[in-house]
Amino acid sequence: MLYREALNLAYHEAMTADESVVTLGEDVGFYGGSYRVTEKLYEQFGAHRVIDTPISEQSIVGNAVGMAIGGLRPVAEIMTANFALLAFDQIINHMAKLPYMSNGKVQLPIVVRFPQGVSKQLAAQHSESYEQMLAAVPGLIVLTASTPQAAYHGLKKAIELDDPVIFIEHELLYNKKGEVDTQARFDPFKAQIVKPGNNITLVSYLKMVDDVMTAVPEIEQQLGVSCEVIDLNSLNPIDTDTLKTSLSKTGRLVMVEEDHKTGGYGAQIVSWASEHCFYELDAPPLRIAGLDTPIPYNRTLELASIPTPDSIAQQIIQWGKQNGL
């Protein structure tokens, strides 16, 4: 099943099971969704539950907040992460805070989902990642999905929760194929050990998990080590238990993310590790991330601005050699 089909299945099941689940966004209905995630929902559940909105991102989230207050369980799609900036007031000042400000009298079972990241030459206004901003907001749960399995279970869980969830997808994952076991016990709050290993803990999420996995054979061969690859899944809360266990074993941390390095989400993980696993660490942690530049259109520049399997391997090999591996 494709990643986007897995999301679609989660939608279908959730909307069938619970009448109060609605979805809204630009082109999600009649058109079928710009990445086809919401395909056929309109036909099946009708225009009242699959709501085509005007291009008004602030209202998309603002309305979702009001719908949730009114007893619905809205799933809002923002077409691309960059446009979510238009809704940051609603996401941060309203969605994340009303439950607290109201002393728990208002609950907001809302999912805001969007794809992010560098796709192919979409340029500076369509290629950003904003997990670091949103994972820093108390009151928001921030989930990601890097496989069809995680997409299905993650979105279903997100819709089930009575709290606001930001559900982040990646544009290049929509056509990724993978098994989806709908009966599996999959906890999106738990980090997944994608590949066990003994000498280096490679932490990542979303599309970078694939790039890390592609880089691993080269790294293992060149350094003569085995790598443990961890997919965080949930960016807030963070499954620090899994991280701690892995670091106790390997003593070495590499954090890989696609976003710009300065202030990127990986800083949180590395900083947590150096606070809490200082004595477990045998080498300085390495952060691999995008450059601190807006994303250029030209393909060569674009690829040079973010980590690739090759650059990941090279940086880790160099770091390994400098640090006694």
Binding site: V22, H48, R49, I51, T53, P54, S56, Q58, S59, V61, G62, N63, A64, V65, G66, M67, A68, I69, G70, G71, L72, P74, D89, Q90, N93, H94, L98, P99, Y100, M101, S102, N103, G104, K105, V106, Q107, P138, G139, I141, K157, E160, L161, D162, D163, F189, P237, I238, D239, T240
Partner: protein, 318 residues
């Protein structure tokens, strides 16, 4: 208007006035802090609007104490909230700007100018989908009509034909800036005209407000879609306790205060009844203050409660 209704209207207005005066006093004494926005001068509008729309959901701003009272939320639990006490309507976490009480269909208390308007639209959408009887009212100032999301909301409510009353309290000022200095006209209803029918009313005349809101309510109940009311009003105090109100001349303030909505209604009541009601309102506020002074603060251990839902929750955060 029936006698009893008029008495309730008057009583609640006086209650509101007394409440605000007490809040002002206790702000100056340091019992209340943060931003405190008084509704003095606008009580007729606030109370009549709520009484004419007794059953629907209400979304409003930081200048909402009197509306909350008129909704039936007790003076005690509002005053406690202003005092930051555990017994406050938002547990002392929200304060003056964030009164929430879903049991009275009162959803804040929002301090982002214009930010609650799309929330009201979403709620009206829910109500329409649920085929619920009562619509939604959203109250906001003239200044809020300058936020883009206000127009998005007009458009969405009209496109979806939602049962929603937009009530604009046009007191002509956003803090110290007169609306005429930042808009090409001063009648905010004009902004809504492309999208829906509009009504205009003297917001200093509580009876007129009651009638206008009743008319608007009839309109939305019939499924005709949203409607916009502009109520011209005037605040007697500064924008908040932090504002010295220097941008309005004494003459302008005199004209403003001459329209006191309480004085306007007073002659319609029997003078003995009026005196009794005023006394009762003062009493109620005095009790609320007394209670608030003694009420307990929230426990420190509750500091991080309610960030995520309790009980119904399907997960544990680290």
């Amino acid at each position: 208007m029936e006698k009893l209704q008029l008495e309730t209207l008057y009583y609640t207005m006086v209650l509101g006035r007394q409440f605000e005066l007490a809040a002002k006093e206790h702000y100056m004494q340091g019992h209340i802090s943060g931003f405190l926005h008084l509704d003095i001068g606008q009580e007729g509008l606030s109370v009549a609007a709520m009484q004419a729309f007794a059953h629907g959901d209400v979304f409003t701003t930081y200048r909402e104490h009197v509306m909350a009272l008129a909704r039936g939320i007790s003076a005690k639990s509002i005053m406690d909230e202003l005092f930051g006490k555990a017994t406050g309507v938002s547990g002392g976490r929200g304060g003056s700007m964030h009164l929430f009480d879903p049991s009275h269909f009162f959803y804040g208390g929002d301090a982002i100018v214009g930010g609650h308007i799309p929330n009201a639209v979403g709620c009206a959408y829910a109500r329409k989908l649920q085929k619920a009887d009562n619509g939604v009212m959203v109250v906001f100032g003239d200044g809020a009509t300058n936020q883009g999301v206000f127009y998005e909301s007009l458009n969405n409510a009209a496109a979806q034909k939602l049962p929603l009353i937009f009530l604009c309290e046009n007191n002509e000022y956003a803090i110290g800036t007169h609306i005429g200095r930042v808009c090409p006209f001063t009648e905010m209803a004009k902004k809504a005209e492309p999208f829906m029918p509009t009504l205009s009313v003297d917001g200093m005349d509580a009876v007129a407000v009651y009638e206008t809101v009743t008319e608007a309510n009839d309109f939305i109940q019939k499924g005709h879609g949203p409607i916009f009311i502009e109520a011209h009003t005037c605040r007697f105090e500064g924008h908040s306790m932090s504002d010295a109100n220097r941008y309005r001349s004494p003459q302008e303030m005199d004209i403003c205060k001459d329209q006191d909505p309480i004085e306007k209604i007073k002659p319609l009541l029997d003078s003995q009844v009026e005196a009794n009601l005023t006394e009762k309102a003062k009493q109620e506020v005095a009790e609320a203050v007394e209670f608030a002074l003694k009420a307990p603060e929230p426990e420190l251990s509750t500091l991080t409660d309610h960030i995520f839902c309790q009980g119904g929750c399907h997960h544990a955060l680290s």
